[in-house]
Symmetry: C2
């Protein structure tokens, strides 16, 4: 009986889990706040599909209540180096928003999380968006996330019945080194995570793309050993 009451009162959260460093840390934060975590990954035809296996391992390692992967063929639209194999992943920082930007990806993922949250009767959606050490994607900025939250609170039956939805992006203002320090303190095993935009099927990182560069510099700045296996380790220095 006691168990049942505990389960009924535990707050549920939906966590967008890509399998990368930021979303793994976000899951650890949600767990540390006592949420029952329902993790959602999107199989959208991404080049680095090994992140999906990483998401599954991260969810299990961090005690998620559940992990689901939903399939959606965004490669049918293309328009990004991550969803169109004919566009190469850049190995040098870009001026402006790089070609690895996937049109409306976070909007699509947050929308799916919103749907699931409503069915679960959860009021909390966590996303690992970061607007400090990031690639300049528009849908990682606080003003975007606030606008999504406002829209979500007009969109759903549960919200208009008085149960407000909260979009939580606990990493949005943190430098990568702080994210890593926080994650380590919460027990995140970063060797399970895959950040690289062109990781191979084993999760080996290129060491050259924007995502590898930001990740590796984060470990260096944090003074923590980087457990990532890079194909070109010198390039990420």
């Amino acid at each position: 009986m006691t168990d049942k009451i505990w389960i009924a009162t535990l707050k549920k959260a939906v966590i967008l889990l890509s399998g990368g460093l930021d979303s793994a840390t976000t899951l650890a934060i949600a767990r540390s706040e006592g949420f029952a975590c329902h993790c959602l990954s999107l199989d959208y035809g991404q080049r680095h599909s090994s992140e999906l296996g990483a998401a599954q391992r991260v969810a299990a390692a961090l005690g998620a209540s559940e992990h689901r992967t939903i399939k959606l063929a965004l490669d049918a639209f293309g328009g990004s180096a991550l969803t169109d194999k004919n566009i190469a992943v850049p190995t040098q920082p870009a001026d402006g928003i790089p070609i690895t930007y996937v049109p409306a990806r976070n909007t699509i993922m947050l929308s799916l999380a919103l749907a699931w949250a409503e069915v679960l009767e959860s009021r909390h959606i966590f996303i690992g968006a970061n607007a400090v050490d990031y690639s300049g994607y528009p849908d990682c900025r606080p003003e975007y996330l606030e606008a999504f939250e406002k829209m979500a609170n007009l969109a759903t039956k549960s919200a208009i019945e008085g149960h407000a939805i909260h979009i939580r992006a606990p990493l949005v203002a943190l430098p990568k080194a702080d994210i890593i320090r926080l994650g380590v303190s919460l027990g995140v095993d970063y060797s399970l995570t895959v950040s690289c935009y062109q990781a191979d099927q084993n999760g080996t990182a290129c060491g050259r793309c924007d995502s590898c560069r930001l990740r590796h510099q984060g470990f260096v700045s944090a003074g923590i050993s980087d457990p990532t296996h890079y194909l070109h380790p010198d390039s990420s220095e």
Copy 2:
């Protein structure tokens, strides 16, 4: 050469096309405004999947440039009579928002349209949302659509580079009878469309659900013969 210039300058729009009465009318409006129409349907595990065939026929009949159907298993989440076969479609009007409401459906569909619009370099997304003769779904109301537009203009690379996105819902304030009159004047063949929440594979409508009721009353009010084939024609009177 003239042809090429014409093609290059023709404005593109993404049209959310369910295959129902409202979205067909919306496509006709966008065509009448001179848009090259790229129609998007969502195969989301809906009970009334015959609407997808209707969408294809409507797109062809109304001269769409393109029609794509994207698959996304929302029935994995459930929570609606349209995505969970264990929940019956009601045959009586509900108090409040009925169980045919699909959590976050319009948000998901608009997000996908936003992604495609960005890839197409289109600034116009049309949706057949209506908040007059409707089922009370929160994601059909003007305030929701305005909030989505605001969010979209912070979400995308093209928007922050100065190309504003416009969410167009030309039917939002029209009674059903006016929608039907307008559609007829624009050449919409409503016999091609499927509105029923539990239409069979041939598109035969139940005549009893909320959607059948609103549709049939619209034809009666407009003084236009309803071309729909109802299984229970008396119930929709």
